[in-house]
Symmetry: C3
Subunit: 582 residues, 3 copies
Amino acid sequence: MTQAPPPASPLLGVDYFPEHWPRERWERDAQLMVEAGLTVVRIAEFTWSKIQPRPECWDWAWLDDAVELLADAGLQVILCTPSACPPPWMIEADPSISPVLQNGKPLGLGHRRHYSPHHQGYQEASRDMAERMAKRYGQHPAVIAFQIDNELCGNTEDYGPLAQAAFQDWLEQRHGDLETLDQRLGLIFWGHQFNSWSQIPVPCDHSFHPGLQLEYKRFCSEAWVRFCAVQADAMRPHIGERLLTTNCYLHRWGTHIDWSDLVSQGGLDRFSFDNYSSSDHENAFYNDLGRALSPGHWILEQQCGLPQGQNLWPDDPERLRRALLRSVERGAELLTFFRWRQGLFGQEQDHGAILDHHGRPGPTFRQVQEVAAEIAHGEVKQLPPARVGAVFSWEDSWALASSPEAMDHVAISIERVSQAAHLAEEPLNWVLRPEQLQGLELIVVAGKVIRDEAWEEALVAAAEAGACIVSLPLFGAKDRWNAYLPDYQSEIIRKAQGALLERRINLRGEHQLHSQEGMKLGLRAEAWELDADGEVLDRFAGGPLQDQPALFRHAVGRGSWVTLAGYPDPQAFARLLTQLCQ
Amino acid sequence: MTQAPPPASPLLGVDYFPEHWPRERWERDAQLMVEAGLTVVRIAEFTWSKIQPRPECWDWAWLDDAVELLADAGLQVILCTPSACPPPWMIEADPSISPVLQNGKPLGLGHRRHYSPHHQGYQEASRDMAERMAKRYGQHPAVIAFQIDNELCGNTEDYGPLAQAAFQDWLEQRHGDLETLDQRLGLIFWGHQFNSWSQIPVPCDHSFHPGLQLEYKRFCSEAWVRFCAVQADAMRPHIGERLLTTNCYLHRWGTHIDWSDLVSQGGLDRFSFDNYSSSDHENAFYNDLGRALSPGHWILEQQCGLPQGQNLWPDDPERLRRALLRSVERGAELLTFFRWRQGLFGQEQDHGAILDHHGRPGPTFRQVQEVAAEIAHGEVKQLPPARVGAVFSWEDSWALASSPEAMDHVAISIERVSQAAHLAEEPLNWVLRPEQLQGLELIVVAGKVIRDEAWEEALVAAAEAGACIVSLPLFGAKDRWNAYLPDYQSEIIRKAQGALLERRINLRGEHQLHSQEGMKLGLRAEAWELDADGEVLDRFAGGPLQDQPALFRHAVGRGSWVTLAGYPDPQAFARLLTQLCQ
Amino acid sequence: MTQAPPPASPLLGVDYFPEHWPRERWERDAQLMVEAGLTVVRIAEFTWSKIQPRPECWDWAWLDDAVELLADAGLQVILCTPSACPPPWMIEADPSISPVLQNGKPLGLGHRRHYSPHHQGYQEASRDMAERMAKRYGQHPAVIAFQIDNELCGNTEDYGPLAQAAFQDWLEQRHGDLETLDQRLGLIFWGHQFNSWSQIPVPCDHSFHPGLQLEYKRFCSEAWVRFCAVQADAMRPHIGERLLTTNCYLHRWGTHIDWSDLVSQGGLDRFSFDNYSSSDHENAFYNDLGRALSPGHWILEQQCGLPQGQNLWPDDPERLRRALLRSVERGAELLTFFRWRQGLFGQEQDHGAILDHHGRPGPTFRQVQEVAAEIAHGEVKQLPPARVGAVFSWEDSWALASSPEAMDHVAISIERVSQAAHLAEEPLNWVLRPEQLQGLELIVVAGKVIRDEAWEEALVAAAEAGACIVSLPLFGAKDRWNAYLPDYQSEIIRKAQGALLERRINLRGEHQLHSQEGMKLGLRAEAWELDADGEVLDRFAGGPLQDQPALFRHAVGRGSWVTLAGYPDPQAFARLLTQLCQ
């Protein structure tokens, strides 16, 4: 990944669909974009059926025209490869391109993302389309970047026969023989010791074996990364210095693809995401994650009006400005608004935009204009370097999500940490690789359920060097096949925590325990036996763990390890972060 | 449609299933019906498998017998064509008769309405059955009418391959070529520019293109109308003066078929509906709508006991009487109760009836007897002619219903108007055609989303002639292909409103704004710029539209146009109607 | 069924999965079990894929080893036939073994219970497996019993083509000709007079004919009983005095199989169930039912830690002990805990157990140890013989459950009676056969909806002999084909009640009526006309039945018949039981 320094002030742009509007309107739109203070336009998503209306027929003229017109207005262009929407004739010719949903129905024509990433023919067609686009526009002076596809995966995986066969092959290559697979995953549970790879089902819901579930998530993530890389590799030779990216879909904490792999193996130059956050701390999370993935991350769809199915925008006129500044403060290098003008037709015809349906500049246009000026004048400062970090990995979130209580775990391990940092007004770094621990004073380890020696050594080393580690329940509880480990702690961690984990208790639903210092603790509670040199900071009050340690600290070298015996409520968590930072 | 004047006093009758009871009970039933004051009996629904138990075997004897026996008792008979329930042998011989539900499963044997209206063979079989019935009973002196099928459509459309092929043909005939279809609907959205009619999917839920959704509703409605007309045309030559009708299913505001088309093109003499309303204003709506569709409308199933899945009947002994009188006051010409006696077997065995399972007259029988006497004595007066009207069309309700927030719109545009008129104690006319505006003093335009020049001219003419028009948000917002129009008002309406619509704001879910005069306004809020001669009647209090007009009036000829910048709560709406009527 | 007297003190045991753990751990586990005070181990569920990993390959060595090791430790063994989980190779070879769910999808590999009981080939394979197991271990001195399959049916029925064909055959054998079927069930409703058995659908939800629904429940129950009997018959010749049982799945009041038939016709020696009750009175119900089915019933899975998806266990440390004692007091002869140690892998990896994942004895181990000692010392007394009985049958619960309000009826007829007896602290006998009425002073008849002459005579005879009968609504309301009877009472019952039932009123949802003495009455209300010698104990207060009898008594011989004109709330019901017992 190109480690370009972020520009002095981030670029602002907009998502535009010239193909939705009469040609005679385009000039006016370009002129208004410039007036709004925008400098970048993203175009051509979903236009395969316009570029190639029939197998033998290619029509680039309209796109040439649009690029020239925008360039003439002084705008820079990001072009999208249109693979998110295979054209109708292609699906008609080969319906097996469509993925099969969890309910067994194919997702056919009439939607978007109606293709399976496991379909080799479609992968090749997409590669060819991307290459043609790169050859045609890869040297255009106004084109600064290409977006590959749109919102890869979305929230739709393929569970059909194509996916099943690919999954079986993937498992065979990975595990070699069925005995190994059985031993690793524990397939004896409910008697599923396969004696042929072809017997292995696709786990399409939580009623399947958690080992298979986790492997399927890995398999799907790899497939999306490869689907992206195939296009990137085809385009790279033709685009010179132009950048490659894709707009990641980070809805509901975004755990479908390992975005870290996508950036490192997908052939991308920048990490980008679409920002439809519904809360400030969710917005912060995506940006903080973006910063960890790619210095100078991009936001390719920044909500700027009411999306369908969400709540009132105008109630809080500062929300747009705040969302933007929050991203810029966190290092965003480019933001493009979704979208320029409310669409007259199609599924998103009620979605908000910079311009209303009528196309006249109004309050949102002026809001954008003002913030653009503010940003252009360099008035927005980057946040100071974070003292606090939180460890995150996609594999861990998948392991947590393989049980019926999935979202509780994800919400608590990701959302609650974000929320606590937000309440404590502490800049937060998400730590994706051990080397990113460097320089942090306080490191939260929540939801890191798969035990990993390298991480454990790095965390202990950070503590020894002076950092404070705060670990929450389930740390290192499972092996990489999603099975619980019978030893609850590795020796190195047991020493660092200065305590032996005696027992894990499940706290279902709304059930909570309380501590003497007023923490509410949920989801899991733990019973610990402390070494002599452990320092109890708080104890359970009432309940089955009455008077047992709920929070304790142990000195490790020049630093310390703090253990929480439950997931605290956000306010208590924020207070704890503030105390430990002092 | 025959414009017969309503009789001095409406007829009362009952739905009877002689085939469910021993032959020896029939006389007693007929005698009790007469004692109850009933004069009409509807029979033969769902009896295809009894009339034609095998392809080559016809058995009319039992039905001849039943008709004679009822006639001998002095009762008049309405006969139903039995096409709502194709017999088992027919489905077994051709399972493609069954419709395919939204979930992809066929609705096969074991239910009712298990046929697709698009199946040509079944349409022909139904035509043949209807013709045979008309030939056999069309001259019988006791037979006064025929009911075609039962609750056409219900709430079940076909989404299977048969329906898809028929929809594709229908689109081709209507739009001529694919470019026209594309241009009209905006299929470029998400890249669905079809190059073959065979690619077009059936839109089976809200995730499909709203243009396709609206066209599919039109297509389905037309198919049901044609299915009805085919039987009507076959019967007409054989029935003399006898009337044709069908019992429309108006559950949940009843927007599946364009009942206006059904009456005008379905070959019917009377509009009839089934009345299972759960509130007084819903009951009023169906009757008011019935009056607009057919002078002297019929109610062919009038709930007279506890239906399955609804709430306690006996708690409110006046409810039955009130429901009946409300219908009679609104011009109903005939009411038949559902049903004579609680069924011992079958899916509706817990459904209420005039007689309980045991068959002895009880409280409901006596209630019916009393109301029948009251009606027969002409004690029920018709309501005075309405001063207030409300514009309604099925196409508009389908356009509103094509988004995820569908039912909110329908509820607000239909239900809230009914409720407000009910609270204001104002008789209400539903206005289905511009000529029905005549004579109204106050005309509400809510949910009329598709712009229509003829309607706009008629409304302005009505205002100029002295009426007050009250328009709510989204009036004329879309074209007939369900796309928003970039100009928010036509010139004629902009002049009539005396204001320019600046902006539409979506208010999702429970969100509401308030006016200074105490209105709560929801779903949409609008920003308006008034001409100099506009009169502001109320303003927004707080919120993003603080102090902007929430309600304003503009003089138009001898009348006026009042604009509401949101959907008011029913109480405020009722107050407004009362004020404007003064 | 062998009528062995219960042992002086019940046996305690545990469910163990040696195949989940390293061989070197087994000795330690066996030793800890003995230390805990356990004497029985249930093993080998779900191990078909381990016993027969390929069609031609049998591996009993591991199981021989496990049985020997446990025997050597002094433990007794219950062996399970593994038919709940057909091995993957078998499903791959014949996917038609898998049942088809209500949604139309097959339940294939990846789950458990993925077989249809109607598949003859699988039935034969299961028979063969059971016979081999019986031959191998049927003379082993440590083996005391065999469990057939696991949780037969569960809550999964087959609704696929295999089931449909079998259902059609079953109906033909039972009813002989289609006219008889039609007359009995009332198939004329919605015109379903079949003229070929092959037309009959499988009723997979409440939208089907209630007559077909009830027949389908009978058909399925018989199929499960036969599936069990086939294994039992194959095993019996080889096992000497060893006992046969199966662990019934009694979740949510457990109405899938007629357990009485299962015990009497399934070839079993003991009735056993799995106990995951969520309330004390539910626990009591299963045990009381178990006592009625088999003197000395067994509990083969006794929850002993937090199951997945349930609430906090440790909050109430007495709950485990209470659940156990409640079972022992009610005559349980053997209890085995589910499970020995928390599983590291597989779908239930978060399920509680005696040992935590780490395998070290902890609080639950010690709890078990203490209760085992208490029980072994004979400190737990059996309850005194019950004075109160309640009539129950599975057919009746199915008849009640065939309407959309199904669970309300089941809940009220089973749960409320259990709850009232629990609140009144009265031991309760469930009465499954008329001869079990003997010796009871007070007999509750709730939810006995199918009229049965033998039962009616037995109840009246019990009253004449001095008992008090308390009947609730719908007693004897339907015939055996699930149709309402037009006479509301037989003559014998009309005389016993001393009153004529005039009317049944449905009270939907949360609706309730009140009595003057403070009862709340729901679901159904009834209007009664009392004979001169009836004694009114309570009357309705307000509502449509104002001042009419809500509770009345009639002398019958040396006893009496008390009629409740609604389903009372549990507290009022408990007060009534207490009063009537005095």
